[in-house]
Each structure stands twice: as structure tokens, then as C-alpha cells.
């Protein structure tokens, strides 16, 4: 287990982490029993073995921050203050559930109090949505951080990449947790992507990333806390890959027979709750009495919550027709401004709408010489392996992007509110080809530095299409015959009958 270095937790916080992980597990164990009693209406997805990821990451957030959970992040919902009854009633499709039975599982949200965006089943879509949440929070001066999770499987979607690209270009205060639980339904990670660490995907967007042992709740918390703090200071976005294991099938119907037995055994020995119990005991943070006290409290609470859910009615059928549109004043939409509106209103918001050289770093010698961060030595560090034992470093930094000058801005709401495009204010240290003179300069023109002199493996210029127009007439057929005629030069007609009389 990770020894705490900088972020020292209080005893209460250590016990909180245990409480939420155990609450998460016991809640899900109860739901498995309810599923077997046919009291769960649809599917049931287990986060057994992944509790440390949901709890450790969400615990690093503040009340004002926003999350969007995935199906296996029930622990995060609990940390955000969602009562267990909401999760029971959602799964049991009850009228008392947050969606009143319109959707199930963890598909519900809370815009006003807990700041939770509901997920949808299509993976990856939450990433651009939470990027937008982060951008809006910055715009309104709220100094919030938005966080969401994606599986190893979901990291292959287009929405994942579009969202990360936008988050990076906007420098949004957004944290993405890649929850690598080794399996996308029945497909192992190695059959999805030919790279060892999904954290490497951050480097492609200039997003600093880290790799964490996902079964070590303190390590997960620490990594998340650091990422959240960085984002709040205006140095987002951040990416964290947590390595963990899905200990059940995709859902209850799936016995996961495709998972080798040895793999289950390996990860069972690294169960996050068992490991954390040991850690608490060894560090004398608790004793047996405290543990049984917390466990008993969880049982008590869940008894009440489960009974509430089981006693709740199903929704009235007429509800199906309601709520498609937000009309007739059902919701009041009002932004919570934490900065002066005048800052974003003319004349104060007016700017000179031009691109400047500093916006165009491709016009530098660094770019010509193959810059764009490719030589960043930090990338070489992106070779951390999956946690093999408890003694290996639990957090491995990887691929720290070249720090944008925005990093020097102190972490104030005003600095966060600075428009992203203005953030890259300083010029790069490398000398730049003088604008307006570079391409005309004779020495530069002839030098191999000149991009025009690079061939990029293309064919010699003499063979380009432009040099031989007569061979490439697009209005003629392959043998200089106009289209629309057959080989005899006659227009195409119907296919004549062959000797067998077939058409």
C-alpha cells in the first residue's frame, strides 16, 4: 500500500474510504440477491473488485465538482451523497427512484445539488459532455472540476477521442479516469489495442497522464487529488489510467467463462477492500471494534434503504406520456454566476479577431525540425507496467506534456476563467523563421529545414499528375475512349441474350 507523502488524510477520512467501499460492496451483494429473487427488472452490472476506483477518485472531489458515473461507478454516487435507496429503486424500476422508473441502473443525475450527469449506454459520450461542463464552470467563474470515467473498451470510441481533443484544446478543468478492468464484455484489452498502457493516449493530445494501481484506494485517491488540484489551478485536463479487474461477468447473465481462472485468482488476492483493511490495521488507523462498528452501521442503513425500495410502488402507466419536453415552467434554468457578467459582455469582451503568430506555433523552426513535443523526454517514462505486486510503485507518471505557460498563473477563479486561447501567451524559446522573409530567404529556401525540400517519401516530382496531364485525362476512359461507349464505339445497349437464352 502506498505510504502517504504529501496529502495526509485524517483518521476520519481513512475510515470514510473504507465505509464507502464496503457500502458499495454490500449494496451490490444485496442487489445480486434481489436479482436472483427476480426483483431487479433489467440487467445488473457488478463493480466487484473495482470499488477502490469509484470511491478513491470521487473522494478527491469537492461538493461543487461534477461527476458523470459509468455503470460500475456506484461507489462514486455514494461518495457524492446519493442514498442507497436511489440505487435500489433505480434497479427495481420503482416510482420513488430518481427517474421515477423511466430509466434504470445508475442512469440518473442531479443537476442542482450533487452535480451528477446521468450516463447513457453509448460509451464515450460523457467525455465531450463533461468537457462542456468543465468549460461552462470556468466560464461562470465557479472554479469547478468535472470528472468522468471510461472503460478500456470505451476508450476506442470516436467520442472518447473527439472529447479528449476538445478538452485538450480548451485546457478544460476536466479529469478522465480510464478504468482499465481488463475486459470489454468478453474482449481482453490486448485484443482491443496493441499498446500496454491506455494512459499513453493522453500524450497524443498533450494531456499529462498517470498510471495507478486501481486496487489501492489510497493511491487512487492521491493520483485523483493531484489531477483535480492541477485542473483547479488551470492546468487541465488530466488523464489517469487505473489498472484493475472486473471480477464478475459483463452483467449478471454472463458467467465470464472466457476469463482464465488464474487471472481471477491473481486479482482476488489483490482485493481492494481486503488490502485496505490490512493497511488500516498495519498503520494502526483502526481496530477490530471500529471495523465491526462500521460494518454494523452499513448493515443497518442498507436494511432500511432496501426495505424502502421493496415497499415502493411501480410508476403509474400514464407517466410514460409525461416529461418529453421542458415546457410549462417545469424547470427554471438559471446559471450560477460567480464572476461579473460584464467581463463577458461588450465592450469588455470585445477583442481583435485575428490569428497571431503565437497562435501558430507550426511556423517555427522547432516545428520544422519535428517539434510538437515529440522530443519530450517525459514520454520515455510512459513504460510503467501493470501493478505486479504491492511493493511496486503504485503511481507511475507518464507522458507529461510540455507545460503550457498558463501553469504560471496562480490558481484563482479569475485565472481559470481566462479564455483558453489567450493562455498560450508566451513565445516559444526556439528561434523562429522571421515572418514574411523566411520562404524568400535564399539560404532557407535551399536548406533541408525548408519543408518544401522535404519529400516525405513521395514519388519524384517528374512523375506527379501535374506534369503529365495528357496521361490523366479524367474525361476519357482507360484507353482514351470516352465513357458511355463500348469497345466498338457504339453506345451501350441491353445485354443480348446468350446462347442458352439467359439474360
Amino acid at each position: 500500500m502506498t505510504q502517504l507523502a504529501t496529502q495526509q488524510l485524517t483518521r476520519e477520512q481513512y475510515l470514510d474510504l473504507y465505509y464507502y467501499m464496503q457500502l458499495n460492496r454490500q449494496l451490490e451483494e444485496r442487489m445480486v440477491r434481489l436479482f436472483r429473487q427476480n426483483k431487479i427488472v433489467g440487467g445488473l452490472y457488478s463493480s466487484l473488485g473495482q470499488e477502490a476506483v469509484s470511491v478513491g477518485t470521487c473522494y478527491a472531489l469537492e461538493k461543487r465538482d461534477w461527476i458523470a458515473p459509468m455503470i460500475r461507478n456506484i461507489g462514486a454516487l455514494l461518495v457524492k451523497g446519493v442514498p442507497p435507496r436511489d440505487i435500489f429503486t433505480q434497479h427495481m424500476a420503482k416510482y420513488t427512484s430518481p427517474t421515477q422508473g423511466k430509466d434504470g441502473t445508475s442512469h440518473f443525475g442531479d443537476l442542482k445539488v450533487r452535480h451528477i450527469v446521468s450516463p447513457i449506454s453509448m460509451l464515450g459520450d460523457l467525455i465531450p459532455v463533461m468537457t462542456g461542463v468543465a468549460m461552462a464552470g470556468r466560464y461562470l467563474g465557479q472554479n469547478i472540476v468535472a470528472l468522468t470515467w471510461i472503460g478500456d473498451g470505451g476508450s476506442s470510441t470516436g467520442a472518447f477521442h473527439e472529447g479528449l481533443g476538445l478538452a485538450a484544446s480548451q485546457r478544460a478543468p476536466f479529469v478522465l479516469i480510464i478504468e482499465n478492468n481488463q475486459w470489454a464484455y468478453s474482449t481482453p484489452v490486448s485484443r482491443q489495442v496493441p499498446i500496454q498502457n491506455l494512459a499513453d493516449r493522453g500524450a497524443a493530445y498533450g494531456i499529462a497522464s498517470a498510471i495507478v494501481d486501481g486496487n489501492d484506494v489510497v493511491a487512487v485517491y492521491q493520483a485523483a487529488k493531484e489531477a483535480v488540484d492541477e485542473c483547479r489551478a488551470g492546468r487541465g485536463p488530466r488523464l489517469i489510467e487505473v489498472k484493475t479487474m472486473r471480477m464478475r461477468g459483463h452483467a449478471q447473465h454472463d458467467p465470464a467463462e472466457y476469463v482464465p481462472k488464474e487471472m481471477f485468482e491473481y486479482w482476488k488476492a489483490r482485493d481492494p477492500i481486503t488490502l485496505y483493511e490490512k493497511y488500516l490495521t498495519e498503520n494502526k488507523i483502526w481496530d477490530a471494534a471500529t471495523k465491526s462498528e462500521i460494518d454494523a452501521r452499513i448493515e443497518r442503513e442498507l436494511d432500511v434503504e432496501q426495505k424502502f425500495a421493496e415497499d415502493s410502488p411501480l410508476p403509474p402507466a400514464a407517466l410514460a406520456e409525461e416529461g418529453v419536453y421542458c415546457d410549462n415552467g417545469c424547470h427554471k434554468i438559471e446559471a450560477d454566476w460567480k464572476r461579473a457578467k460584464s467581463e463577458v459582455t461588450p465592450p469588455k469582451s470585445s477583442i481583435d479577431p485575428t490569428w497571431r503568430l503565437k497562435d501558430l506555433p507550426a511556423y517555427t523552426q522547432a516545428a520544422i525540425a519535428g517539434g510538437n513535443g515529440a522530443k519530450n523526454p517525459a514520454q520515455a517514462a510512459a513504460t510503467a507496467t501493470a501493478p505486479a505486486s504491492a511493493s511496486s510503485p503504485a503511481i507511475a507518471k507518464s507522458a507529461v506534456a510540455p507545460e503550457p505557460p498558463a501553469a504560471k498563473i496562480p490558481p484563482t477563479p479569475a485565472a481559470q476563467a481566462a479564455p483558453a486561447a489567450e493562455a498560450g501567451a508566451e513565445e516559444p524559446a526556439v528561434p523562429r523563421v522571421p515572418f514574411g522573409r523566411g520562404p524568400k530567404d535564399k539560404a532557407f529556401r535551399q536548406s533541408p529545414e525548408n519543408p518544401a525540400n522535404k519529400t516525405y517519401g513521395r514519388a519524384p516530382k517528374a512523375k506527379s499528375f501535374a506534369q503529365n496531364p495528357q496521361e490523366k485525362s479524367f474525361s476519357k476512359g482507360p484507353r482514351n475512349k470516352p465513357f458511355g461507349k463500348n469497345a466498338q464505339g457504339k453506345p451501350f445497349t441491353k445485354n443480348p441474350q446468350d446462347k442458352q437464352g439467359r439474360r
Binding site: 423511466k102 430509466d103 442512469h107 440518473f108 443525475g109 450527469v117 446521468s118 447513457i120 453509448m122 459520450d125 467525455i127 465531450p128 459532455v129 468537457t131 462542456g132 461542463v133 468543465a134 468549460m135 461552462a136 464552470g137 466560464y139 461562470l140 465557479q142 468535472a146 470516436g158 467520442a159 473527439e162 472529447g163 481533443g165 476538445l166 484544446s169 416529461g323 418529453v324 419536453y325 421542458c326 415546457d327 417545469c330 424547470h331 434554468i333 438559471e334 446559471a335 450560477d336 463577458v344 459582455t345 461588450p346 469582451s349 470585445s350 477583442i351 481583435d352 479577431p353 485575428t354 490569428w355 497571431r356 503565437k358 501558430l360 479564455p419 483558453a420 486561447a421 513565445e427 515572418f435
Partner: protein, 339 residues
């Protein structure tokens, strides 16, 4: 650091005299962004360049980079981010450079944006706007009318105006609406007609059709560019003694059933004209509505003039064959009038 480019985009909007649909939409954007700092614009090339059709020209100069957000070419990210912004009470207006590209973010629009309010009570007050429609030889990927995918999606509202003043008034209503609204701008109409704007901060209500021409013999229901085709046809028909009533739907979802039914009950004949393809076009839905609500009043079959069931072809003679035109509308109306 000296500037590298001339001041590309700091134009203001004309304040008096007749203006084009492009300027009417720009005016709506300027006025709404001035009125409410929660309104932001997001899309590709909408800032320095002012948008592919210059609809957002001048916005960046006035409102700055925080409110005129230029994005990578990533439609799913644009819609997703706009949706996320709306959860915090902003009212983003997202531009599709061509509305054809909305296909790239279909999932985000239909599964996330459209369903949020119904499923978990989260209103999504955002607008998705973009140039649509054919007649300008844009080819199969720059001429589409994809409105019916979204008319078939509960939770969205779909607007498709035919005049500059309607475009301005409806866009303002769309921005102020608490629901996700798709706003189609027919690019054939962008600069072909001019109109004086009504004075002041006026809006046009969503979900209300308008009778563009009164008539007693038959009803022509249409929207967007085809309204003008229908009106031309009505002039020709009048010379033959056939008085056509022309209804401009303006909003496709929710559909103004009352106006359609009232007109059909008066004229007893219905012709629907649209530029969208035939199968699954809104003509089928309107026909069903009339059968349900005015069957006894009909004196003839419900007729329709639509585009062909093909992609939009590129070459002028092919596209002309594809699209409805005045002659096709007149011919269909003449047949219908015989009943």
C-alpha cells in the same frame, strides 16, 4: 507581436433597411448574445473566419473567445460540450458547418440531448443550427435535408424557416426555449431574398404555421425553400382559375395540426410539397394527420410533390430532376383540382 492577418471579422449587422436571411440570423445571434451572457456560440471556423457562410461574422470581435468557441473538426465533441454547458444554465448555439455533418453526432443528439429531460429531468436549452438544402449544386454531402431523422426523435424541436424575418424571430425563440432545438437554414435562401425586419425585440412562436396565401380550391402545405416554389405555383394556378391556399409550416416538430386541419376543412384538398426525399418525408405524417382529423372533409386523395428517393446528385440536370419545382407542383395541383 504584430498581427499576421488583416482584421477579418469585425463587421457589425445592418440596422435598417431590408436584409438577407444570413444577416437576419446574424442579427438574432448578436441581439441574443447581447441580451443574455449565458448565450454562447460553438462550432468550426465560426470565429476569425466568421463561419463558412458568414453567419457568425463579427461575433468574435464583439464577444471574445470565451463566448465564440472555435473547435476542432469534431461534431460529437461540439454537441456533447454544448449539452454539458447547458447543464450549468448556459444556452449554447452550436453550428454545424453544413447540416449534413450532423450525421457525425447523431448519437449525441438523439440519445443524449433529446432524452435527458424525459429520463432524468435535465433540460437541455441548446440550439443546433446549420445550412441545409439543395438547389446550389453542393453535391450529395452538402445539400441534404436531414430534418426527418430528428422529427422522429421525441424531445427535440425542429424549425425550418422560409423568410428572413421568420428566421430571426424563430432563432430568438429557439435560443430562449428550454428544449434542444434544431434550426435548419436553407442555404438557397441565405442571400436570395431581402426583407425589412419588424422593429424591436420580436420573436416568432415555435410550433405555429402561417398561411402565406389564402385560397379556396386546395391547400398546399410546405416549408423552407419550397414555400417559395409553392407560392410561384399558386400564381400560375390562379391564372387557370385554381385558387390555392399555401401554408408555411415553419416548425416541423411540434407540428401545427390545427392550422393544417382548418385549411383542409376549408379547401377539401391537400397537396404537400417538400424538398426532403419522398419515403418517410413529412408529407406521409401530414397525410395521416388529415386522415385522422379531416377524413370526411376530403374531396380527393392527399397528393405530394417531393424530391426523389435518391441521394442529392451533383450535376445540374440531375439535381433539377431530383428537386421539386414549380412545374411539378402546378401539374400535381391541376390533377388534384380535377376531383
Amino acid at each position: 507581436m504584430s498581427h499576421t492577418a488583416p482584421n477579418l471579422s469585425s463587421k457589425t449587422v445592418p440596422t435598417s433597411g431590408p436584409i438577407t436571411m444570413v444577416d437576419a440570423i446574424r442579427q438574432a445571434m448578436f441581439e441574443e448574445m447581447e441580451r443574455d451572457p449565458a448565450v454562447v456560440a460553438i462550432g468550426e471556423d465560426i470565429g476569425v473566419y466568421g463561419g463558412a457562410f458568414k453567419v457568425t461574422d463579427g461575433l468574435l470581435a464583439k464577444f471574445g473567445r470565451e463566448r465564440v468557441i472555435e473547435t476542432p473538426i469534431a461534431e460529437t465533441a461540439i454537441i456533447g460540450a454544448a449539452c454539458g454547458m447547458s447543464f450549468l444554465g448556459l444556452r449554447p448555439v452550436a453550428e454545424m458547418q453544413f447540416i449534413d455533418f450532423i450525421a457525425c453526432c447523431f448519437n449525441q443528439v438523439t440519445n443524449f440531448v433529446a432524452k435527458s429531460h424525459y429520463l432524468w429531468g435535465a433540460p437541455v436549452p441548446m440550439v443546433i443550427r446549420g445550412p441545409s438544402g439543395g438547389g446550389v449544386h453542393g453535391g450529395p454531402f452538402h445539400s441534404a435535408n436531414p430534418e426527418m431523422y430528428f422529427v422522429h426523435t421525441p424531445g427535440l424541436k425542429v424549425i425550418y424557416p422560409s423568410t428572413p424575418s421568420d428566421a430571426k424571430g424563430l432563432l430568438k425563440s429557439a435560443i430562449r426555449d428550454n428544449n434542444p432545438v434544431l434550426f435548419f437554414e436553407h442555404k438557397y435562401l441565405y442571400r436570395r431574398l431581402k426583407e425589412e425586419m419588424p422593429p424591436g425585440d420580436y420573436t416568432v412562436p415555435i410550433g405555429k404555421a402561417i398561411v402565406r396565401r389564402e385560397g379556396r380550391d386546395l391547400t398546399i402545405v410546405s416549408y423552407a425553400a419550397m414555400v417559395h416554389t409553392a407560392l410561384e405555383a399558386a400564381v400560375q394556378l390562379a391564372k387557370e382559375g385554381i385558387e390555392a391556399e399555401v401554408i408555411d409550416l415553419r416548425t416541423l416538430l411540434p407540428l401545427d395540426k390545427e392550422t393544417i386541419l382548418a385549411s383542409v376543412k376549408k379547401t377539401n384538398k391537400l397537396l404537400v410539397v417538400h424538398e426532403d426525399t419522398r419515403t418517410g418525408g413529412i408529407a406521409g405524417e401530414i397525410a395521416a394527420l388529415v386522415f385522422e382529423g379531416a377524413f370526411e372533409d376530403l374531396d380527393g386523395p392527399v397528393a405530394r410533390v417531393t424530391a426523389l428517393d435518391t441521394p442529392v446528385p451533383y450535376s445540374p440536370p440531375l439535381e433539377e430532376r431530383f428537386l421539386p419545382n414549380t412545374e411539378k407542383v402546378v401539374a400535381a395541383a391541376r390533377e388534384l383540382a380535377k376531383y
